[in-house]
Symmetry: C2
Subunit: 400 residues, 2 copies
């Protein structure tokens, strides 16, 4: 592939930026990984749904779908003459199914999905515009045990895929806004006192960047509105870390009632996770809210070991018809980087004239049989590991 | 869902025509079926590739892709400002991969794929606009053994999926045109004699509809051009049926050399299939060419028992860079209708307070564990088949 093709046509074989071919063995590895994750979900009673890749943009972008509206490809449906979207997230579709076609089914409803999502633009660090997405949704329960279950099931699925050293980060995306509201630092109150309304946004940014100096500076500028925050926020920022220490630090703080309820719910979710997965490493970040645009209650991020990055993300949200729901999305491409590569399938070259009946047992043993189609076919060129000879697979290294 | 929503917005939950949600248990069944088919391909040395859902229309619609151009959704890529297509067929993408990124790999190249395809419009009998497509491509061999292998592997995959009573229909899509050309019934010859050029198309239609009366009528009108055809075509139409009788009937005919070569190749392919799959039922339809727009040599259709319809389709074609290739596409939605439904996964309700350690063995036995999240959760409402009690799964029918 070259970049110097004429302007009017892309060079043959060139794909649009962020769209790529998966070749052997990566394509097989991804597919096997997806099925491993889905098998873990099924083992916990999550049943698979498969929404279409395209649907009307009005339904696709409703509810939590609004968060990905600007990343959604649109195209005209010539049949209905209405705009359709190519999904950028499967969660809103599952919420639609739960609210409509499965609206009459008993709650809690456990659903899972696997499929491709597309987005209009990649980013510099994540250039892909087509990604596999796999996930679980647990709809219709307010219980902390429901949040715990999706975290535990997602972590177990990663474990089944061979990812070691998983850690679960819990954040409380409504905590920062709740504290600012409770401290009277609302847009209306700022305006009423002749203060800059932008202080609210600047404070949120300071919290999100975990910048205590900035938080204290803004709090001073907003005085007397944010008086309590000056003492509270730096200590909440410091509480980020291992969950037990973080919960203890938060418990020692004097929180306004609405914020205390958020912290108590987090403690209940963490206790419920510990009951089901005592060995899972959990961290707590009480004021983090970055990128969590539609979550209420707890939000989850699962990390693999070292610098493998985010493997899964989710938490509590409001589903269709305002039903309580909690879920996790797993990113198989990231999981694949964090999991060990499986052993490749051994390939046995089958010389011309070998009777077919001898080959089924070989396949049943886990060999791929690669049959010669002409005298020119050669085992090494066809990347075989074995040759079928005298009724058995002989490793190529032992061949003369 | 209702049809009486206001004109400007589709009713919530309504999907565009031909696009649908797969619900439990159908979604799981389809996914399991796809993986079963892909495992059969892998066992024969076919390696998985995964091209993107979207690519530049210039590459997507090149070669055999031209056959689905009018069924391909187009959308503008905001990054490159070029038109992209949403694939309606995966075969052209695999041909592109074989010609470019895998261009240096030894031949024959065995590739397989599984994924979704989309099309602009459904038909009355096949309204779906999103379909799963699974297939194999064998690229770089001219051998009859190559055609035989893809037919045998596809039939074996259907067998693994539980489809009984498979039959393979072989047609020779270039036979009719070759005979018309050999009989001098070309557009140029018709025009030179002052005959209606439409006679060629009408004759093709008569052949395609297996209508000997029409064929003889048109042949008479095209006289003397089609003199040989009047004797030959009705007997070729009659030769359609079980392969052995068909081959014998064709062997007895006096065919022009180009047509004889096509028949001889069919006989070689059938012999190669018999060598690998002696029990496969094969029919031959020497002059069929309907819907086979880019095939050369033999074309294949696999049928299930009774009225289950076409399960797979393929045959020989020219791949990228004019490489010889042969392949099969399988339609999992049709296969699913022809295959027996697998047994559903048993679901064990787990009462509140059950220790987690007891559940992993249950899941290892093939049970889905459905954990109560609140005292309100009840096993029957959650469609459980068992309740976990006294350390074991008790069938709900035995519960009091």
């Amino acid at each position: 592939m070259t970049d110097d093709a004429p302007d009017d046509l892309p060079p043959a074989g060139l794909l649009p930026a962020g769209l790529m071919d998966l070749l052997p063995p990566e394509a097989e590895r991804e597919a096997a990984l997806v099925e491993t994750l889905m098998a873990a979900f099924a083992a916990h009673g999550y049943e698979r749904v498969k929404p279409p890749l395209l649907e009307f943009e009005t339904s696709l972008l409703a509810g939590s779908g609004a968060a990905v509206a600007e990343q959604t490809f649109r195209l005209m449906d010539p049949v209905s003459q209405r705009m359709m979207g190519l999904r950028a997230d499967t969660t809103p579709q599952v919420a639609r199914i739960a609210a409509t076609r499965l609206g009459g089914q008993a709650r809690p409803l456990r659903l899972c999905y696997a499929g491709q999502v597309l987005r209009v633009r990649g980013t510099q660090i994540a250039p892909e515009r087509q990604l596999p997405q796999v996930g679980v949704e647990l709809i219709g329960s307010e219980a902390a045990a429901a949040d715990a279950e999706v975290a535990v099931v997602a972590a177990e699925a990663l474990g089944r895929a061979g990812v070691a050293g998983i850690s679960l980060d819990i954040s409380l995306p409504t905590m920062a806004a709740t504290l600012l509201d409770a401290a009277g630092m609302t847009l209306e109150a700022l305006a009423a006192r002749g203060l800059d309304r932008r202080l609210r946004r600047q404070m949120e940014e300071g919290i999100d960047r975990k910048d205590p100096v900035r938080v204290l500076t803004i709090a001073a500028r907003a005085a007397p509105l944010a008086a309590d925050l000056a003492a509270l926020l730096p200590r909440l920022l410091e509480a980020a870390g291992p969950a037990d220490a973080g919960l203890a630090a938060v418990a020692a703080l004097e929180l306004p009632p609405a914020a205390r309820a958020i912290a108590d719910n987090a403690a209940a979710v963490i206790a419920a996770i510990r009951a089901r997965a005592p060995d899972l490493r959990i961290t707590l970040d009480p004021v983090e809210f970055r990128g969590l645009r539609y979550h209420v209650g707890v939000a989850f991020t699962l990390y693999g070991p070292g610098a493998t990055g985010e493997l899964a993300r989710g938490g509590r949200y409001r589903s269709g018809n305002d039903e309580p729901a909690t879920g996790m999305s797993l990113y198989p491409d990231a999981v694949q980087r964090a999991a060990p590569a499986p052993a490749p399938m051994p390939r046995a070259f089958v010389p011309l004239g070998t009777p077919e009946a001898a080959l089924a047992p070989l396949r049943a043993q886990g060999f791929a049989t690669v049959c010669a189609l002409s005298p020119a076919d050669a085992p090494r060129a066809l990347r075989c590991t074995h040759v079928f000879r005298d009724g058995r697979p002989v490793p190529l290294s032992q061949e003369e």
